[in-house]
């Protein structure tokens, strides 16, 4: 059943991806409606796939390679739908949804190698760690999307472009609100998620885990995020610098995400301790 729903979601995802990108060029309501309907259908299919995996009791499905992409895509979609419902900024979808849908498409070409889970407690911690990290990163992506729009709007206003008057590109205060809310919300969530991950890794993995690429990149991301957070909180980071900082952070996170995907701590753990793996759809 999960395979069926996953395959069903892909054409919808492709339509939504195309429609959201096309909407940036020709900002027509009809195109947005098509994009939204397609993305809602994608989301529904994806929810069924992921729920089914988790309800079958296979918690490992949550941390598998393929599932990680799908869960992250799902989290981004939830965050986008909530943001769109609250702020009504259609162009957010044109930035966020292609990221989510691209992750889904990437998952098609990824094997779902997952480790056998030994401790129920470990499984719960891993589950919470992954969920919090995804929510934190999802919020950071939302802040990134708002930052891009903020810089576009500022640029249009500064250079006296016609898009400065375009009501589909929201006002500066509105974009700043979205950017700040997501930025401030994402940081504590991501921090707690990373702490849980570190605690779990330290307790169950072999010595030397700290030098794992994933841990290093994760900490580097968090450090960059916390620098931005600190500077903003202390009033030393203006709106435009925050927007630029968020774009830099996004590029850093995306780079590290792809660098560490195939060199995960779990794979290393498997090599060191438990060579048992299972295939999950």
């Amino acid at each position: 059943m999960t395979i069926f729903f996953f395959k069903t979601s892909l054409p919808f995802a492709a339509i939504a991806l195309f429609a959201f990108i096309y909407y940036t060029y020709r900002r027509q309501r009809e195109i947005f409606i098509v994009a939204t309907i397609a993305s809602v259908l994608t989301f529904c299919c994806l929810t069924i796939v992921l729920s089914s995996n988790i309800l079958t009791g296979n918690v490992g499905a949550y941390v598998g390679e393929k599932s990680r992409y799908l869960h992250f895509a799902w989290t981004i979609m939830v965050i986008y739908f909530l943001a769109e419902f609250h702020y009504k900024i259609r162009l957010l979808g044109s930035i966020l949804m292609p990221i989510a849908l691209t992750l889904m498409l990437i998952s098609m070409f990824t094997d779902n190698q997952v480790p056998a889970q030994s401790l129920p407690l470990g499984a719960v911690i891993t589950f919470t760690h992954v969920a919090l990290v995804f929510i934190g990163l999802g919020l950071m992506l939302l802040a990134f999307a708002a930052a891009v729009l903020y810089l576009l709007k500022t640029n249009a206003l500064k250079k006296h472009l016609l898009s400065a008057l375009d009501e589909r590109l929201p006002s500066l205060p509105m974009l700043r609100r979205v950017m700040e809310s997501a930025f401030y919300g994402g940081f504590p969530v991501l921090t707690i998620g990373l702490i849980l991950g570190v605690v779990y890794a330290a307790s169950v993995l072999a010595a030397g885990w700290i030098w794992d690429a994933k841990i290093i990149w994760g900490i580097a991301n968090w450090l960059l995020y916390s620098i931005l957070f600190f500077l903003r909180q202390s009033g030393r980071l203006g709106n435009q610098f925050l927007a630029r900082g968020l774009i830099l952070l996004f590029l850093f996170v995306i780079t590290s995400f792809f660098f560490t995907t195939h060199e995960s701590i779990l794979d290393k753990s498997n090599m060191n301790r438990t060579p048992i793996t299972t295939e999950v759809e």
């Binding site: 027509q28 309501r29 009809e30 709007k153 206003l157 500064k158 006296h160 016609l162 400065a164 008057l165 009501e167 006002s171 500066l172 205060p173 509105m174 009033g235 203006g238 709106n239 435009q240």
Partner: protein, 418 residues
Amino acid sequence: MTTDIYITGINHNSAPIEIREKFTLDDSAQFDALVELASIVDEVVMLSTCNRTEIIYYAPEGWQRDEVRKYLLDLGGVNPEQFDTHFYCLDQSKALTHLFRVAAGLDSMVLGEAQILGQIKSAFQLSIDNGFTKEKFFSIYQHMLNIAKTVRTQTRLGHGSVSVSTIAVQLARNIFEDLDGKNVVLVGAGEMCELAGELFRKSGVVDIRVVNRSAHRADALAEKFSGSAHGLEELAGVLADADIVLTSISSDKSLIRRDLISPVMETRRGRPLFVIDIGVPRNVDADVNAVRDVYLYNMDDLQRLVDKNILEKQKEALIAEKMILRKVDDLSRANGHLAGELILSLQERVGTVKNEELAKLFRRSKTLSTRDKEEVEKSVNLIVNKILHDPIISLRRGLKDEDSSPRYIRVFKDFFNL
């Protein structure tokens, strides 16, 4: 659906205000005019706005149209030459195209404005409520609403201001979202500052400060807006609290320079400042725009945005024109289908009569052989076809001219009782 419609009218393009105002009617005069016109034509709607007076009517007979002309000559007290110079008389698809263009805002003074649609809806509603229109115009009304809505939703014709003042307020809304509680500083106390102050006050701004060389004039203007007056030497201090600054003061050198604004912006912690310089010569140095969180627009910048908006609207207008032409074409083609159905029903009707009469003849003449019957039938068929040939050819020819096609259809129906 029919394209059987006539429009006689004047608008801002065809007539100067001296002529137009003679035909501008208030509600009661408009109703009286409708009563008069309804006694002349079959169906009528009257649109009277400050920019146009149009009578939209259905008058199949030529004398009816002449009477409408006479009525208008009497109504406005103009002579026939003036009438012919300034009035346009459109019929059939040209009238329908015009009506759709008016409803879509393509014929308005401000391209794409939406107010006209409300006015035209009220005009139709008045005629519908009082029985001045029948089924022909119900259909036209629906199609008009439909195309106007399509143009509004599928093009950006209705978007974008074409006045400098509206654009300035729009820009302010894009920078601040809500103008309530914002602090406006007017540098200068002349007429332009007064107008700008009025505009901002209407947009929700409450706190207006006036900075001027002459304290007397600054006080007078500040009092008008219940604001405060300041001298030029207080400018830097006033700017520190300002959200929007509008300058229009005669000065040989710039009043607001980068070295003045940079320290001010340092203290504002990212709070944006929108500066509108409408002074000539300019009151604000151009490089002030380079200061972070300052958005400087001078008169030329605003005018350029107006021009861009006009250009965008013109592009969208071309798309809208195509939509309207397509719609009118579809409706005209629907007339063509109607004509085809008419020919078919005529052939069926004649065929039924012919068959009945032949059956009667064959019943009476029992001596006729089968071969004779076939010959008779063949001859009757030839006669019927020859008789029908000319009217059908005329109808088909008439339909090629879309303006005259409704008349042909009507005559065809009347002649053959279809």
